[in-house]
């Protein structure tokens, strides 16, 4: 395989292979709660994060006389995203607004503030970088951080899957079953934030939400049940992002948009597959309808 001889492509592929499935999986949770734009909003708050980072850099240089390394380091960006996610999660719980409203004003507010500050500082370059990202410019260090985040996401989700899914179904029921809903919600949001903070470097704020939303949306088309929804979303995320990297190499296109368009192609394929699978689902539910009519008219009388 020709493209594997380039180190930057190996990095890009590893990053895509790590981020793709985890994002797809997390996306199921986000799309089921009307938070499809969460990643998007979070990614755009990074603009304000970058702006504040630059301000802080300037302040440190001014007051203490030494220069920080330029730009907001990855570590700080992750911290920023975690903080912003925490804040938004608190606002979600305030029950005055729907989550998407909260996200929308955090989104626009951050963009407005960030753009103002970056404009005053004359550092628009960072804006571009945050909006578009560059998967071909990441280092093995980034991949390692991504790997760590992915691992922790997998571990947390794996161990708490039942709880997370119950919360997804009905928060009240989950609370009554003694599940720490608030805590798990926060954990989920922070996981997404960490993944987004890193995916940001790969795809940029404008496209990162595709990684989370599109596989889940595609999986909804073909999954007959929740288990397969989760599995399909993970697989779709993997195929879309790894396939996107490979395609972008062979077609010599920017990688980020190619990944997104590959994911969307998967969505269209799922749309095409739907009639076939829909058929299976229909016959399934027809089966259960027969079961209903074959019992006596009051459904429960047979078992008495």
């Amino acid at each position: 395989m020709d493209f594997l001889s380039y180190d930057f492509l190996r990095r890009a592929l590893s990053a895509a292979a790590l981020a793709g499935p985890v994002c797809g999986f997390l996306g199921v949770f986000l799309t089921a709660r009307g938070m499809a734009f969460f990643s998007d909003a979070l990614a755009h708050t990074a603009i304000t994060g970058v702006a504040l980072g630059l301000l802080a850099e300037g302040a440190v240089e001014f007051w203490f006389g030494f220069a920080l390394p330029p730009g907001l380091p990855s570590g700080l960006l992750i911290l920023w995203c975690l903080g912003a996610a925490w804040l938004m999660a608190s606002l979600f719980e305030s029950a005055r607004w729907r989550p998407d409203t909260v996200m929308a004003f955090c989104f626009t507010g951050s963009v407005a503030f960030g753009v103002l500050v970056l404009g005053k500082l004359g550092r628009y370059g960072f804006l571009e970088e945050t909006l578009f990202g560059d998967i071909n410019a990441n280092s093995w260090g980034d991949v390692a951080v991504l790997g760590a985040v992915t691992m922790s996401a997998v571990i947390v989700l794996g161990r708490r899957l039942r709880e997370f899914l119950l919360i997804l179904l009905d928060e009240d029921l989950a609370l009554a079953d003694g599940i720490p809903v608030r805590r798990l919600n926060r954990i989920l949001v922070l996981l997404v934030a960490a993944v987004v903070a890193i995916a940001l470097k790969l795809l940029g704020a404008l496209l990162v939400s595709a990684l989370l939303v599109v596989p889940a949306a595609a999986a909804r088309l073909v999954a007959p049940n929740l288990r397969l929804l989760l599995v399909f979303a993970g697989i779709g995320g993997f195929l879309g992002s790894v396939g996107g990297v490979i395609l972008s190499f062979y077609l010599d296109l920017p990688t980020g948009p190619t990944i997104v368009l590959t994911q969307l192609a998967l969505l269209l394929i799922a749309l095409g597959l739907q009639p076939l699978l829909g058929h299976r689902r229909r016959s399934q539910s027809r089966g259960s309808a027969e079961a209903t009519t074959s019992q006596s008219i009051w459904p429960s009388s047979e078992s008495r």
Binding site: F3, L4, S5, Y6, D7, F8, L9, R10, A12, L13, S14, A16, A17, L18, P21, A112, V115, L116, G119, G122, Y124, G125, L127, E128, E129, F132, D134, N136, A137, N138, S139, W140, V143, G147, R227, L228, V231, G234, I235, F238, V242, V245, S248, F249, D252, L253, P254, T255, G256
Partner: protein, 315 residues
């Protein structure tokens, strides 16, 4: 049973991930012998190298025609070209922001800043803004040095020196052709001087500060620059100040570039009645050896035309 397939599928994904991640350890591909590979970032540098080295080097340029260096995003092809190049010639002074990340992985030895040794001008700061004047000193440098033919000579000399050092076998060839190019550039400078010096009242309002060095060299006063690229709109105070300055200074032309005329400049042109004259910063020009001469000549004629006032649009 079906469940087992699902688990197998998931396991397959994990395996693929592992494979992709571990393929790092694969042996580096062997590099076959190849001609000297030079990579430039923008079209004017490409045109210089093409003039100096002709077909003797394998020359490529990063920025496709029409792309804007201020907000370009690298594609995997670009990353490959960077990885394969023996010499990367960039303009420097912050122009190639899009390269910073990618270059972090590249051997610094392979890199040449063509603008080395030039004292840069700071980026334009509007005197109309309250903090403007005091901040001039700390603004980042203006990278568009090549548009001044005299500074272009410095860049050409830098390039010739580096090529000779790297590719000693063809050094004399490079030096000879470099000399021709320098002479050509000096002739251009002469023509600029000849045609622009006699014209009075040379004032410039533009929406991209690409022509700062050129203006400095030939006595064109930059009245106002509305830097709109990559900006979230302008402050109305700045626009108002620009409108006032245009009237106060009797500016006779607004300068912009083909495909980059900002809506703000159009609006100002509409409001003030001052026409827009198109120049070319070559940033996103065609990849040809004679790009520089041709475009510089076209710019000269446009400038002369604008300042001669034969464009009778002035109210």
């Amino acid at each position: 049973m079906r469940n087992r397939y699902r688990i197998l599928g998931a396991g397959f994904c994990v395996l693929l991930t592992w494979w992709a991640a571990s393929s790092v350890g694969l042996a580096d591909s062997l590099r076959p012998a190849h001609p000297f590979r030079v990579l430039t970032t923008i079209a004017p540098l490409y045109s210089f190298v093409k003039s100096i080295a002709g077909e003797t080097v394998e020359l490529a340029n990063l920025l496709p025609q029409n792309a804007d260096p201020h907000d370009y995003v690298l594609s995997p092809g670009d990353a490959r070209r960077i990885a394969q190049a023996d010499l990367i010639i960039r303009n420097g002074l912050g122009l190639e922001f899009f390269l910073e990340k990618a270059l972090a992985e590249v051997d610094r030895e392979k890199l040449l800043d063509a603008s080395a040794g030039i004292t840069p001008l700071p980026q334009w700061v509007s005197p109309g803004s309250p903090t403007g004047g005091s901040r001039a000193g700390e603004m980042p440098p203006n990278p568009h040095v090549w548009l001044d033919p005299v500074l272009a000579v410095v860049e050409v000399e830098n390039i010739v020196r580096e090529l000779c050092r790297r590719d000693t076998a063809k050094a004399s060839n490079y030096r000879a052709r470099g000399k021709l190019l320098v002479e050509e550039l000096l002739r251009l400078d002469e023509r600029y001087r000849h045609s622009l010096d006699p014209l009075p009242d040379k004032k410039m309002v533009s929406d991209h500060d690409a022509f700062a060095y050129l203006a400095e060299r030939y006595g064109i006063q930059r009245v106002a620059i509305l830097e709109t690229r990559g900006h979230a709109g302008l402050s109305p105070k700045l626009v108002a100040w620009v409108l006032d300055s245009i009237v106060r200074n009797r500016v006779r032309a607004l300068f912009s570039e083909v495909n980059h005329v900002s809506s703000e400049l159009r609006s100002i042109s509409r409001d003030s009645g001052v026409p827009i004259v198109l120049l070319d910063s070559m940033e996103s020009g065609a990849l040809r050896a004679d790009l520089y001469e041709r475009v510089a000549e076209a710019n000269r004629q446009a400038l002369v035309g604008a300042f001669q006032g034969d464009s009778s649009a002035h109210p």
